[in-house]
Symmetry: C2
Subunit: 371 residues, 2 copies
C-alpha cells in the first residue's frame, strides 16, 4: 500500500535514518530542514511499497555523495539532486516514474524526499544499502546485477557530469568520487536507473518505514521514560533486522578522524572503566568494525551504532567527541546483505579489514553474558 | 584550399609539432605510428582550410589530455578519441562535419588525424592554442567566447564521461583533469563543439601547415648540411610566428621533474660554460619561462623550444636529460595570442609566474647582441 509521509514524520525519520546510517550517511538535519521547507509548498509525499511498482516502471534513485565531515559544513541549495535527476533523464530520453533512496541512513533518507517534494514524484519505500555505506558500488542493486551507469552528478551551479562505465560499478564510484572531491567534497547524484522489476529483485524493501519506526520507538521510550534500547529491540524483532545486541557502554576517550580521499576515516576508543579493555571502532564514513582486544563484536555489513547513553540519540562519526557517554549496539542486517555476493561487495575485506564476517547475533552472545 | 595529407608527411609533421609543442604536448611518436597504421587502411586525410568551412558546419576538436610523462608510457588502443567524439555526438544528437586539433603541439597534432583516418572525417587546418598549453581552458576558442562544454572523455575500455559546466571552461578543465588522473593520467577527449563561423573567428589558422613546414625546414637543413635554426627562422618569417631568436646554447646540467596534480612540473638548468650564468627553464608540461639570472628571455605564451644542438631535433620536457647539448630558441606567437584577453587566459600570471609578458622579439635583443 502506498502511504503519505507528512512533515510531522520527519523528525522520527531523521532519527531512525541516523541510527541506520551506522555512524555515516551524513547528518540528516540540514536535509530535513530542506524537505520541511519544500513540503510546506508541496504537501505530503507519496511513498510507494516496492511490491506496488509495475515491472516496467522507471525508477531513478537520487542521493548526495561526499564525506560526512564536509556534508555538515556545506549546505546544499536544494535543487542539486533534482538537477542530477533531470540531467540523467535528458541523457536517457526517459522520465522517471519514481525516485528512491540509495541508502536508508543519514541525509540520503532525505534527498529523495526533497526531490519528491520539488518534482511531485513518489518515493519507493526501499533502498540499495539497507544501512549506509561509503561507496556507490556497495549497493544491493550492484550486488544483484543492476548497472549504476549511466549516472549523473550535479552541483549548485547547474554544472553536470554524466558517467558511463557500463557494468563496472566500482569504476563508476572511482570516477564519481574524483568529481565529488573536485566539487569540494560533496555532490548530488542520480544513479542506478532501473525498472520496477529490478527494484523488487534487488532493493532492500521497506526501509523508509523501518527508519520511521526506529525513530518513533526511541521517541516513545523517551516520552514514557522507559529504556529506549529495549523499545528499539522490540521494534526491530519483527523486521528483517531482527537481532539487536548491546556491545558496550562507556565514555569516548579518543577520536582520530581525517578527511582523506573524499572520505572521513578514523577510529574511536570507548572506555567502560579505567584499566578495563577499551572498545575500538574503526570507520570510513560509517562504522566498520567494533573490537574489544582481539575479539570482533560486530563488523560490516552488520550495523554498529553509537547512541547517547541517556537519550539513545544516534551519534554519527563526524559528531563523536571526547567525553560522550555512549551505548554501542550491534544490529543484524537482512539475509540478502549477508550472501557471499553481498560480502564480496561490502563485507570486511572490501574495507581492507582482516576480520571475517561474523553475524553480530553469534559474535557477541558470550560477551553480553560475561559483562 | 583543401589538401591531402599522406603518410610521407607524418615524420615532418611530428617533428614540427614537437617543436611547436614548446616542450609539451606529449611526444607524438606513438601517435604518429597509430596514424600511419590507420592511414594504411584509409589512405590520405583531407585537410580543410578554415576559410573553406561553411558558417554552420559542425566541428568537434579531438585530443588527448594528460601528463606527458605518462603519455610516453601508456600506449593508446587507438579508438579512444573517436569514442570520445561518438559520445559527444550522441549526447548532442548531431554528427560532426570535421574534427580539428585543440593544440598544434606534440601528440595532439596526431590525434585528430587518427580520428580522421578511422572515421573518414576531414581535419580543419587550425587549432585552439597555436602551440601547446597544459590546460583545456587555455584555448583561443575559450579566449574568444566558445564554451568548451559539453565535452566527452573516453578511455580504452569504452567508458565515457560527459562534462557540462556551461560557459565555465576553467571548471570544465578542473573536472576533466580529475577524471584524467583517475583514469591513470591520460584520457582522450572531444570538446569545444563549435560552428564553422566560430572556427574562423577563434582558431589559430593553418597550424597543421605550419607544423609541417617547420618539420620540413629542419629536415631540409639536415639534408643540405646547413644551419637548421637559420632555415627555421627563414620559414617562420613569413608566418604569424615571424620572430625567432636564439636564447641560449649550452649543456643541460640539471632537471627537476615531478608528475603532480596530473601534470609534469619542474625546471631545467642549462650551462654555457662553468662560472657563467645558467639558463633556467621552468615548465608545467610545456616550457613556461626562460630566465638568465633576473632577466626574462622568453615567457608564455611565446614559444620556448629546446633543440638538440646538432640536429635541431626538438626535445620535450619529459625527455630532457643531464648532459644534453642544446640550443634554446624563442618564437613569437601570433597577435591574437597576445591580446589582453589571451594573456588573461594563458599569460604568465595564469601559471603563477610573477613575470610580466614581454614579447620575445623585444626581450632578447640585448642578450643576443652581447653573447
Amino acid at each position: 500500500m502506498s502511504w503519505q509521509l507528512g512533515p510531522e514524520d520527519l523528525d522520527d525519520l531523521a532519527r531512525g535514518a541516523t541510527l541506520l546510517g551506522t555512524g555515516g550517511g551524513g547528518d540528516p538535519h540540514i536535509g530535513k530542514l530542506l524537505v520541511k521547507a519544500a513540503m510546506a509548498v508541496s504537501g505530503p509525499i507519496t511513498i510507494l511499497d516496492p511490491q506496488e511498482l509495475a515491472d516496467d516502471a522507471f525508477v531513478v534513485p537520487t542521493a548526495q555523495m561526499g564525506a560526512p565531515t564536509v556534508v555538515v559544513e556545506r549546505i546544499p541549495a536544494g535543487n542539486e539532486p533534482e538537477q542530477a535527476l533531470a540531467a540523467l533523464e535528458k541523457h536517457l530520453g526517459r522520465t522517471a516514474d519514481a525516485t528512491m533512496p540509495i541508502e536508508c541512513g543519514g541525509i540520503n533518507s532525505m534527498i529523495p524526499l526533497l526531490v519528491a517534494a520539488r518534482t511531485g514524484l513518489p518515493v519507493v519505500d526501499a533502498d540499495g544499502m539497507g544501512r549506509a555505506f561509503p561507496e556507490l558500488h556497495m549497493e544491493t542493486f550492484s550486488v544483484y546485477g543492476v548497472p549504476g551507469s549511466p549516472m549523473a552528478i550535479a552541483d549548485e551551479r547547474g554544472h553536470s557530469v554524466l558517467i558511463d562505465t557500463g557494468t563496472d560499478n566500482r569504476q563508476m564510484e572511482w570516477l564519481a568520487r574524483g568529481i565529488t572531491i573536485r566539487l569540494g567534497g560533496v555532490a548530488h547524484i542520480a544513479e542506478y536507473p532501473m525498472t520496477g522489476r529490478q527494484v523488487k529483485d534487488t532493493a532492500v524493501p521497506n526501509t523508509i518505514t523501518l527508519a520511521l519506526e526506529v525513530g518513533r520507538a526511541i521517541r516513545r521510550a523517551r516520552e514514557a521514560h522507559t529504556d529506549p534500547i529495549a523499545e528499539l529491540a522490540a521494534t526491530l524483532s519483527s523486521t528483517l533486522y531482527s537481532h539487536l545486541r548491546v556491545l558496550f557502554e562507556g565514555k569516548v576517550v579518543d577520536v582520530e578522524r581525517r578527511t582523506t580521499d573524499g572520505f572521513a576515516k578514523g577510529q574511536a576508543r570507548i572506555q567502560s572503566a579505567p584499566d578495563e579493555p577499551e572498545l575500538v571502532i574503526r570507520f570510513q564514513n560509517e562504522n566498520l568494525v567494533a573490537t574489544l582486544g582481539d575479539t570482533v563484536l560486530a563488523v560490516v555489513p552488520d550495523l554498529i551504532c553509537v547512541l547517547d547513553a541517556e537519550t539513545a540519540e544516534p551519534i554519527t562519526t563526524e559528531r563523536l567527541r571526547y567525553g560522550q557517554r555512549v551505548s554501542v549496539i550491534g544490529i543484524s542486517t537482512p539475509a540478502m546483505m549477508r550472501t557471499q555476493e553481498a560480502l564480496d561487495t561490502f563485507g570486511p575485506a572490501c574495507f581492507g579489514l582482516e576480520h571475517a564476517f561474523v553475524p553480530v547475533e553469534s559474535a557477541v552472545v558470550e560477551l553480553v553474558e560475561t559483562r
